[in-house]
């Protein structure tokens, strides 16, 4: 059936060369036959267009078998490999998960994720591979300029013969199509070269590109500069809680305080501190404890007994014994205006051991020596510096070897370390109770070292002592 080439219906003058011809057919059968014949005539780069897939048309236009399945296989294998490596590295190497002693890397537990990733990457390969092999998306196509081509997605069938296929002139084409049942031939012109971008679009893109650089620049700046501000919390999580805090007002309670005082008669966990001798350095009292103690504590029978008990409680102290200074009952206060002294313990309520003594030396050198000096003369670095600077408010630390201090019972020394005296602050918050006793023990040792007799030195060391310069 001979046909005449219908030129493109003109809205604008024909400026572009002819790219090829669209030959229209009535149905799939005719298209397939024509494609087969044209291909057999040796024309290259043929294509056919139809509203639905037609079996065998791809072979008829001379298309080789697609490699897409191999791409999908590669996608699937990479998914599998990635999944196995990901699970092995994250759960067995980088952050080993120990769960009920199960092996860190076990294939059965990794099958579901491996399966899913295999499918996922295969599907990506199938979909995107199809698009890439087909050269899609391709929104600009010379065929779209031919109005009749719009029917291809509805009910029209076309064979496309490009000019480079070996069929250069309409005459050749007519001859070629004689044997087919073509219904019409339509010219397709080559696409005009793409013009410049419309101006508003260009400006919009420039503005967009500029705005897009702001966040990365801000991140870059933040990474290269120091900030005193706390870290930005986009989501505060539990940083701010609607809870009552100490020193805050609360309308909920009658007294308006958010912090609640302890209920009378209760003791916080660990705050009971029942043992007077250990925690306060005074003899366990049958009546009132410190400090409202009657002045006369010259040592009643009850007190003596309590003292013995506390001493007996620490069995070791009697054996190692010598830390007790020359016994001297505290004297009644010289000045009747001064408050009466409590009944200080004179025996250590902790076992006197070499370890504790060593601990006391260490703690003393850390906490006390800065003022009192390493040997207790009151010449620590802080004291010397204060005198050097002639600090008017400075009260020089007492020498631990001065007679009043030497005569103090251990309980009083302990009390001083705990609560401080004059300018000296209390150390209860920094040094544990046991360590404070250790320090007192070491202070006693220091005092003894200035007042020792030869008899105090073990026999075998006496000759060495005599050799000292």
């Amino acid at each position: 059936m001979a046909t005449v080439v219908e030129p493109l219906p003109k809205q604008q003058p024909k400026t572009q060369p002819v790219a090829g011809w669209l030959v229209q057919f009535a149905d799939a059968q005719q298209l397939l036959d024509a494609a087969g014949k044209t291909n057999a005539a040796g024309l290259k780069d043929l294509d056919a267009f139809s509203p639905y897939p037609i079996h065998g048309l791809d072979l008829a236009v001379g298309m080789p078998r697609t490699k897409l399945p191999w791409l999908v296989l590669c996608g699937g294998l990479s998914g599998l490999t990635i999944a196995i490596l990901l699970q092995w590295w994250t759960n067995a190497v980088d952050y080993p998960f120990l769960i009920s002693g199960k092996p860190l890397f076990s294939l059965p537990a990794n099958i579901p994720v491996a399966f899913e990733l295999t499918i996922l990457l295969s599907a990506f390969a199938a979909f995107f591979g199809m698009l890439i092999f087909n050269g899609l998306p391709k929104l600009r196509n010379p065929l779209f300029k031919q109005p009749v081509f719009r029917r291809v997605t509805d009910d029209a069938f076309f064979l496309y013969i490009p000019r480079q296929s070996g069929c250069d002139t309409p005459q050749q084409l007519t001859k070629l199509l004689e044997a087919t049942e073509a219904h019409g031939v339509h010219e397709v012109l080559e696409d005009e070269p793409a013009g410049p971008l419309p101006r508003p679009l260009k400006y919009a893109l420039i503005i967009l590109a500029t705005i897009a650089t702001i966040p990365p620049l801000m991140i870059l700046q933040a990474r290269n500069e120091r900030s005193e501000q706390p870290r930005v919390h986009f989501v505060p999580n539990m940083d701010y809680q609607p809870q009552a805090k100490p020193q805050n007002a609360s309308p909920f309670f009658a007294d308006g305080r958010a912090a609640r005082p302890q209920v009378e008669g209760t003791v916080a966990w660990g705050d009971l501190e029942e043992d007077d001798a250990y925690y306060r350095g005074i003899r366990p009292a049958s009546e009132q404890p410190v400090p409202a103690r009657p002045a006369s504590f010259a040592g009643g029978a009850a007190n003596e007994k309590a003292s013995d008990e506390s001493a007996a409680g620490s069995a070791a102290s009697d054996e190692v014994a010598p830390a007790v200074p020359p016994q001297k009952q505290p004297e009644p206060a010289a000045n009747p205006m001064e408050p009466p002294e409590p009944d200080w313990v004179t025996q250590f309520p902790v076992p006197v051991t070499t370890e504790l003594m060593e601990r006391g030396r260490q703690r003393y050198n850390i906490y006390c020596a800065v003022c009192h000096g390493l040997s207790g003369d009151g010449d620590g670095l802080v004291a010397r510096r204060a005198i050097e600077l002639q600090q008017s408010t400075w009260v020089p630390p007492t020498s631990l070897h001065s007679p009043p201090v030497r005569e103090q019972p251990v309980g009083k020394l302990f009390n001083t370390v705990t609560h401080g005296i004059r300018k000296m602050p209390g150390y209860a918050s920094q040094i544990t109770t046991e360590d404070r006793w250790a320090i007192v023990m070491y202070v006693r040792a220091l005092q003894r070292s200035r007042n020792a007799k030869v008899d105090d030195v073990p026999e075998n060391l006496v000759p060495q002592l005599r050799d000292l310069p």
């Binding site: 149905d27 799939a28 059968q29 397939l32 036959d33 494609a35 294509d47 267009f49 139809s50 509203p51 639905y52 897939p53 037609i54 079996h55 065998g56 048309l57 791809d58 072979l59 008829a60 298309m63 697609t66 897409l68 399945p69 990901l86 699970q87 994250t90 759960n91 952050y95 998960f97 769960i99 076990s106 537990a109 579901p112 994720v113 399966f115 899913e116 990733l117 499918i119 996922l120 295969s122 599907a123 199938a126 979909f127 591979g129 199809m130 092999f133 087909n134 899609l136 998306p137 391709k138 929104l139 196509n141 065929l143 291809v152 997605t153 509805d154 009910d155 986009f234 989501v235 999580n237």
Partner: protein
Amino acid sequence: MATATTELDLNDPRRRPPLVTGDQDLHSITETVSKIAERPKPPRAWYVAFAIASSLTLMFFSLIGYLVYKGTGIWGNNNPVFWAWPIVNFVFWVGIGHAGTLISAILFLFRQNWRTSINRFAEAMTIFAVICAAIFPGIHVGRVWLAYWLFPLPSTDLAMWPNFRSPLLWDVFAVSTYATVSLLFWYMGMIPDLATFRDRATSKIRKMLYGLFSLGWTGSARHWARYETAYMLLAALAAPLVLSVHTIVSFDFAVSQLPGWHTTIFPPYFVAGAVFSGFAMVVTLMVPARAFFGLKDLVTMRHLENMNKIILATGSMVGYAYAMEFFIAWYSGNAYEQFAFINRAFGPYAWAYWTMVSCNMIAPQFFWFRKVRTTPWMMVVICIFVNIGMWFERFVITITSLSRDFLPSSWGYYSPTAIDVLMLLGSFGLFFTLFLLFCRYLPMVAMAEVKAYLPDSQPHGDDHH
């Protein structure tokens, strides 16, 4: 040549009824499907439905906002039932999302050509159901802004990796893979039809948008060849995927040691239930949609009847699974397992259990009758019952087992809050909003596929077969 088709042909068991009726040709199929989306104004009923659905969607997202602000305490979840409605809703929606890919992939591989008229519709439903499903575990994690911890991403604030031996993590991978592959499958199938819309478009904006999303599709024979290869491969990949998704969802339960959950029947039982509920949802939506949009010639009674047969088959499988669970509980001799099942049927949640049994085991049995299978209103009623029943199945599994486990001292009775109920309602709103937008703007029937299966579409007598 197109044979004259009548209702008599449909009822003649000696011949297979045609896929489409009413003397269709290529152009009439294009017209029938395209004109639905090309009407300048949809019918009033569409507006009414859309107003209701989008209001519910708005409520859903407002409630999610409130949840993020206030915390999960607004739900009824509490000791001992920490997996409550959100997880029930998640499993329910994921189950619904199984029909689409099953129709697209498995029926495609089995060369069930009748699927072509309904696959687009069912795939769209799948995507929307999976969207609804994915929201629930996402908001159930409590601190929604940290939901990215679900994925193996290196992060400084967590400083550790997810546990790859946990079924909950498998679930993240399964559902997200399923959503992605379903979306690709759906979109890829739609490209030729979007090109049809592009070529028919009259307004500039339609031309531009359909042009953009049809990616310059021309219907080239070379493109079609690769397209068909890719479609076949995607179908082959999606077929095991669709079976794996609900299997892995069932692992969330089955891998734990709770009586009533720790059973090996769960994977096949969940998959059958998912297909069951998915097909029920397709029929529920398809029957009104085909009447409403004039698609009766493309979606014929044969399609509906086939779907009803699948519902009958999977419904019977689900019923068998219920019976088998009871049998195994008795046969195992495990006191806890036995208690869990007796508690289901006769305990405080007996009302939910018997709702489930009557909706899922009894209702689909009516499909043995041809009359019920081919009467639109009857099938819709049964399918609605099936959907109710399948929601209750997930409720029964999740809640009864959690509320009474090994220690009687920790037993409790779960009841939902009003927000739980409104959120379930809101998820339906979201589903229908997306669905109505789909009906309005996208090709509801896969035109190119239907055309390919018309009589005389394919060349005869050549040597290419």
